[in-house]
């Protein structure tokens, strides 16, 4: 038997999750077309972390890469989940906002520039408190400014997931792509347990967490558009599809009444089952490619 026959496909594939934020962003672009903006050599560090005894990072955990995807202009903005939990601070927030605003400027002058947000983040960086909150507000407003002109694609690969304020940025983006390993939610499991007790949510129960926050469930419920395998090639192809796609006719974030009615219609007298919720809220309203 040939060697390729013995080795299963999942062993040979190039994992996307195993890449760091910079490599993830680079891997999405057409070969040789990208360059990094405000990279680590520019030393745009957080001025606030050292004051609190925390070592900063030269790029503040935010990587901005501009280039071409499927021949079309695009910018990828990646949060590095390994640095301070991918949290968003003053500098990383400003980089994200500036990159989105430049994409909007280009798109308005006829050069459609898609943005891809690679979100591995717990949300606001607590050490930068209000500045982080302001950054989230600015990012959301910049996403809203860009999305009528070019697609804003959120990619959550895992394993940090996307929580807190940045889950709102995911919520207003044109398309959301997730892997089975990724999680998306406003409040993370620990926060829910801390606020409402272990009866409400057991943050050590991984099956429960992924049944609620996991990529498969989020796509199944229609809160994300595509479920992709942890495979750099497949993720690149999916992102290319969305970069070239038409803009959604209606955004999830505009369908307030629709989602309010859905929540009102739920029978909370008995425990809601993730599977039945998925069947009831199938992915038909999102305008997703898949």
């Amino acid at each position: 038997m040939s060697q390729t026959g013995i080795i299963p496909e999942f062993v040979r594939r190039q994992s996307f999750i195993e890449l760091d934020g910079r490599k993830r962003a680079q891997s999405l672009f057409d070969e040789g077309t990208w360059k990094e903006l405000v990279g680590p050599f520019d030393r745009m560090e957080s001025p606030w972390l050292p004051l609190q005894g925390v070592a900063p990072q030269f790029d503040d955990g935010c990587i901005v890469i501009k280039g071409k995807i499927g021949g079309m202009a695009a910018v990828a903005i990646a949060l590095e989940g390994a640095f301070q939990g991918g949290s968003i601070g003053e500098v990383s927030g400003a980089k994200m906002t500036a990159a989105l605003d430049l994409a909007t400027k280009d798109s308005k002058t006829g050069k459609r520039t898609a943005a891809i947000l690679l979100l591995e983040t717990g949300g606001v960086r607590l050490q930068e408190a209000n500045l982080g909150l302001a950054a989230v507000a600015e990012v959301i407003s910049s996403v809203l400014a860009l999305r009528p002109h070019a697609p804003v694609i959120t990619l959550i690969a895992g394993t940090v997931g996307c929580f807190g304020g940045m889950s709102l940025a995911a919520g207003v983006s044109s398309y959301v792509v997730m892997t089975r390993e990724a999680r998306l939610g406003l409040n993370g499991p620990e926060v829910i347990e801390q606020e409402s007790g272990i009866d409400e949510f057991d943050s050590s129960d991984r099956t429960l967490i992924w049944a609620i926050h996991g990529g498969e469930q989020r796509v199944g419920m229609g809160l994300a558009d595509a479920l992709v395998e942890d495979d750099a090639g497949k993720i690149k192809a999916t992102i290319r599809g969305y970069v070239q796609a038409d803009l959604p006719l209606e955004y999830r974030s505009e369908q307030v009444e629709f989602y309010r009615d859905r929540v009102t219609a739920l029978d909370t007298s008995e425990q809601i089952n993730p599977m039945s919720l998925r069947q009831r809220w199938s992915n038909k309203t999102t305008g997703g490619l898949q």
Binding site: G39, P50, A55, Q57, F58, A82
Partner: protein, 98 residues
């Protein structure tokens, strides 16, 4: 948090490329290695773990016993062990020599 600086005046070989490797994650660090105009190599470290100046010195003494490039080395550290530090430095040298 601690700032540590070292000089290695004997490292004089001229370098043309620069390197950035690593991430400031728990037990890891990032390093910038760049050509310098001045004579010799200079190292500056920002570490979130205090009290390990002599350990850092030992690691860099060993590193510059084999490497003679005139480089500016800047490190942000989140508690990398001496072994990890050496691996990150060697990784940076690999990028510079590419």
């Amino acid at each position: 948090m601690e700032q540590i600086e070292f000089d290695y005046p004997a490292a004089k070989r001229s370098i043309t490329k620069r390197a950035h490797v690593g991430v400031v994650g728990s037990g890891d660090m990032e390093v910038l290695m760049e050509p310098t105009q001045s004579e010799g190599a200079h190292v500056s470290i920002t570490t979130s773990v205090d009290g390990f100046q002599s350990t850092w010195k030992a690691v860099f003494d060993r590193f510059f016993s084999k490497f003679d490039g005139a480089v500016r080395v800047q490190i942000n550290d989140a508690g990398a062990t001496p072994g990890s530090v050496m691996l990150r430095l060697e990784q940076a040298v690999e990028v510079i020599n590419q």
